[in-house]
């Protein structure tokens, strides 16, 4: 190992050589391991990986994402999930009922601009991204999200919004009395359960931006909590 755990590394930086397991964010050349992104080195025993500090959302099967319908096609919807390419939602992954595609216009179900919670089903080698809203074991109810608002943050900051064992997100939901769906793609859906709804959602959006901006700080959850309490006396 040539780097310490949590060290910032840059593309092409030599991380290790010899008997090591090179994981994501790295590549090997002549039994030497190099970083391929700007990120934090994560060394665990003989395993090394690099957690990117910036970059586009890279969809992985199983990810929960929040997307916006971009285009309605004959048998599919194209959904923007902030990946380099739009994701494909096919009718067979969207509707349980049978549909006569010749007779029906799919915008009857979802139209341009609709916000959806979906799960990434498959990403093939040419980056054809398939998503589905019919997954049984999804952590939240999939499908169209109505009302509320959507906040986009940097996808690499998503783990911070969730917090250790969900501490951050649980606090936000409790203190703001909002339903929050955090997409792995950095798109977050917020809907207040109680009045004043618009104010609650606006405060949630502000809190999420603060998390994005101050993601490197420790004790962020408590700091946010006290600020939310102070600002939510309506």
């Amino acid at each position: 190992m040539h780097v310490k755990d949590r060290e910032v590394v840059t593309p092409g930086e030599r991380l290790a050589e010899g008997q090591v397991v090179a994981s994501e964010g790295t590549y090997m050349e002549k039994d030497k391991v190099y970083s391929k992104v700007t990120g934090l080195a994560d060394v665990q025993g003989r395993t090394i990986r690099v957690i990117p500090l910036a970059g586009p959302y890279r969809p992985t099967p199983g990810d929960l994402v929040v997307g916006v319908v971009q285009e309605v096609r004959f048998s599919t919807w194209l959904v923007d999930i902030r990946a380099p390419l739009p994701a494909i939602l096919h009718v067979s992954n969207a509707l349980e009922e049978e549909v006569d595609l010749i007779e029906t216009d799919l915008s009857k179900y979802f139209k341009e601009g609709d916000v959806l919670a979906a799960v990434v089903k498959d990403v093939n080698p040419v980056q054809r991204i398939e998503i589905s809203i019919l997954e049984e074991d999804a952590p939240v109810r999939l499908g169209r999200l109505e009302g509320g608002r959507v906040v986009d943050i940097d996808p690499v900051k998503v783990p911070r919004v969730i917090g250790r064992e969900g501490s951050m997100i649980k606090m936000l939901k409790r203190e703001l009395k909002c339903d929050i769906i955090v997409g792995a793609n950095g798109r977050i859906y917020v809907k207040a359960r109680e009045e004043p709804k618009r104010e609650r959602e606006a405060l949630a959006a502000r809190a999420l931006r603060e998390i994005e901006r101050r993601s490197h700080l420790e004790g962020l959850t408590d700091w946010l909590k006290s600020n939310i309490r102070r600002l939510s006396r309506w």
Partner: protein, 240 residues
Amino acid sequence: MPEEEPERLISEDGLRLDGRKPDEMRPLKIKAGVLKRADGSAYVELGANRIVAAVYGPRELHPRHKQKPDRAVVRFRYNMAPFSVDERKRPGPDRRSIEISKLSKEALEPAIFTEYYPRTAIDIFVEVLQADAGTRCAGITAASVALADAGIEMRDLVAACAAGKVDGHIVLDPMYYEDGYGEADVPLAMMPKEGEITLLQMDGDMTPEEFKKAVKLAKKGCKIVYKEQRRALKRKYGEE
């Protein structure tokens, strides 16, 4: 450019017009992440050069027929501001900037894992705000930092630096007058990790020996640039 050619570009004690030694580079300053709207960006100062680079993407490429099914398309635009030189530069692409755009793209592409982003485009924009010779190299240097700042997966950073022949001496990183009145200019870009050269040009007259010497010197310059590029990226995240 001064009205008249300076009598000599290298003094008797071997120093250059700006007091540098032949193998000395101009002061270099790099900053990563200077633009808010771009996915990645960088600012470079090399001597009096002032250059901003912005990277967008990988993003969907339109028109569709230009997409490559197995990799990303890299597009590069080098542009000089009208106020970047003494005489107003007519805005817009010209023969020179089209050439620089093409070879800068080719200098950076080998470093990018383009196969990870099929059917997309990675757009790189380099704006020269003030030119002081060696802008193509400083542009590549800036663009490479901007790519890394955008989180795009790369084999290595690409560092670039020029060498030249001035008054019969081989010098590192020629400045404005040396470029204008010197005998030759050798810009070079490389991936320092393996020493792979991705750009090499020569403009002017040199003997093969001089050329070899110039390449060696430019490579040395690239190593210095490379160190500074890494430091700029680490500095953005609070290290160093």
